[in-house]
């Protein structure tokens, strides 16, 4: 595993204009404030933080769904700034995304085979037979059957759908895969299967993951590096063991402490703290 970064992010900002209404003036909201990080080839960066801290905004910028307001993103040496240069097929093939909700991320009117072939159809000149072979190959790789090729998404369970979504994302053999809370909509046993699948795929294809999550146990299992975000800013960034073993920022400590604790002693302590306040 070479240590050259495949993803370089420098001073990334994203601001949203909030239109003024009748009674309030226009303002701006900065969702991501000056984020810097590198991700090395074949490793996993976990992005952790509470709802609304800018994780998903970051994901949307990395996958070229939204443009950044300022700052630079560089994927595999290719600078990405879609508001200036637009998106080329080259850029498409480098980054793909897996969404949180497997029930919304597959087109209900599209058969699985076509779901998988669509990226190839749009970005390459591959003949139909070859595309189909690749799709069948991929189905097997993510643990599905070739018979599933002609079925509709509603015939699958949540875990199977997420496998399909992952298969679609890696059809183009992207350098970087952004996983936006890919297991938080699944039940626990299925979560484990999907995480194992992701790990296997990473080993096999040398994929690089940016893994967005709020589930710390999942992060501990998968991540090489951890980045904690809080209100759009990075408050902690380091290897998994550094962050988990010795959290520096107060928010990170709170976050780790927020893991539910149901023994009587901790409940008493919580009530006492509440009464004291």
């Amino acid at each position: 595993m070479s240590q050259q970064p495949i993803l370089k992010v420098r001073d990334l900002y994203r601001t949203y204009e909030i239109k003024g209404g009748l009674f309030r003036p226009a303002s701006t909201l900065t969702a991501v404030k000056g984020v810097n990080f590198d991700v090395e080839r074949g490793t996993t960066l976990a992005v952790v933080g509470e709802s609304g801290c800018g994780k998903s905004t970051l994901a949307r910028m990395l996958t070229m769904i939204d443009a950044q307001s300022s700052g630079t993103i560089e994927v595999d040496g290719l600078p990405i700034d879609i508001s200036k240069t637009g998106i080329s097929k080259d850029m498409r093939q480098k980054v793909q995304i897996v969404f949180q909700n497997p029930y919304g991320s597959l087109n209900p009117r599209q058969k699985i085979g076509h779901v998988l072939e669509e990226p190839l159809l749009l970005n390459t000149n591959m003949p139909a037979a070859e595309r189909r072979d690749l799709a069948l190959d991929m189905l097997q790789k993510v643990g599905l059957q070739p018979e599933h090729y002609g079925r509709y998404p509603h015939m699958f369970s949540g875990g199977q759908r997420q496998r399909i979504a992952i298969a679609r994302a890696i059809m183009m053999k992207p350098k970087l895969l952004v996983l936006d809370e890919p297991v938080s909509a699944l039940d626990l046993s299925v979560q484990a299967q999907i995480l194992n699948l992701l790990k296997d795929l990473q080993d096999e294809m040398g994929l690089t993951y940016v893994f967005i999550s709020h589930d710390l146990s999942v992060v501990r299992y998968l991540a090489d590096k951890v980045m904690v975000m809080y209100f759009g800013e990075v408050v902690e960034y380091g290897t998994r063991d550094e962050v988990f073993g010795n959290p520096q920022h107060s928010y990170t400590k709170t976050l780790f402490a927020a893991t539910p604790n149901a023994d009587v002693e901790s409940i008493r302590k919580r009530i006492a703290a509440k009464n004291a306040a």
Partner: protein, 308 residues
């Protein structure tokens, strides 16, 4: 999971599997549709109408425009003075009403198909553009549609026919323009609901262009309400065409169009009830049948109403 060589899968097997998935969807659709008895009855009546229209020359006992000089205003066969050869009687110039009704079905279905096609295609394209682009394009289109909707529909159709000149084709164009805004609004609303969904974003990340996103990704998921609206507009179109025909702005005599037949029979309402009743009944039954089918389609297609 680690073996990358695919097991040899026969093409035939895959295609059979794919077909059975399609079939399963159709079966599910038919299941929900057939739950609604009224819709099935409507469908049967509508199919009968279609068959009647297609085989009109074979079914109709007489030429619809031939005037039997010896039998003006003959009452239906079961009335006193009725003739067995004119089952539903004849009109004021001696034409067989049954034959005219059978041929009239051709016109009514033709009107429905043409009007709905024009309104649907136009409505879908305009609505898709409005819902997908948003912004000033959307505002412009929707205000234009609001203006059209602000007119009483029949009045606007009348004005349009007055401009274009009377005749069946012009009447159909006028009705299509009047019905169009409903399709535009419906399409736009559906597109706006779908365009932010994850699968659309995923298709965009996969590299789909605007045209592909609009027509291949979003549109198929917006079709359900449009199909329902199309069936309901079908009956609306027949009604409006009949109304225009009645006012003398639609099909011109001697075309055996139902509304035109009503108009011709106006002066005999008191003397010969059958001349008005049967065309009126024909319109009523057709429109009712199509509306019932539309209701059933809504049950079968609208996932919000579907009992899961």
């Amino acid at each position: 999971m680690t073996n990358s060589s695919p097991a040899p899968v026969s093409t035939a097997k895959l295609e059979a599997e794919s077909r059975s998935a399609t079939k399963a969807q159709l079966i599910e659709f038919w299941y929900y549709f057939s739950q609604n008895k009224g819709a099935v009855i409507g469908l049967v009546v509508f199919m009968a109408l279609v068959i009647m229209a297609v085989f009109a020359p074979l079914i109709a006992p007489h030429d619809p425009t031939f005037q039997y000089r010896d039998s003006f205003l003959v009452p239906p066969a079961w009335e006193d003075g009725g003739k067995a050869t004119f089952l539903l009687g004849t009109d004021a110039v001696g034409r067989d009403i049954l034959s005219r009704l059978i041929y009239g079905a051709q016109f009514s279905l033709f009107i429905g198909v043409v009007v709905v096609s024009i309104a649907l295609v136009g409505g879908i394209v305009i609505g898709l553009v409005a819902g997908y682009m948003r912004g000033s394009v959307d505002t412009f289109i929707m205000r234009l549609m609001d203006i059209i909707l602000a007119f009483p529909s029949l009045l606007l159709a009348l004005v349009l026919v007055a401009i274009l000149g009377p005749g069946l084709m012009n009447a159909m164009i006028a009705i299509a323009i009047v019905l169009q805004p409903h399709f535009v609004r419906l399409t736009r609303a559906a597109v706006m609901a779908e365009r932010g969904r994850d699968y659309v974003v995923a298709a965009r990340v996969a590299g789909a262009g605007h045209m592909r996103l609009m027509f291949k990704t979003i549109l198929p998921n917006c079709l359900a309400p449009l199909i329902v609206q199309a069936t309901l507009s079908f009956s609306n179109a027949i009604l409006d065409a009949a109304a225009l025909g009645f006012l003398g702005m639609g099909a011109q005599p001697p075309t055996p169009e139902w509304g035109t037949m009503l108009a011709e029979a106006r002066e005999f309402i008191l003397r010969a009830w059958w001349v008005v009743t049967f065309p009126g009944l024909a319109i009523l039954v057709t429109v009712l049948a199509i509306n019932l089918v539309g209701d059933g389609l809504r049950d079968a297609l609208d996932p919000k109403l579907k009992r899961s």
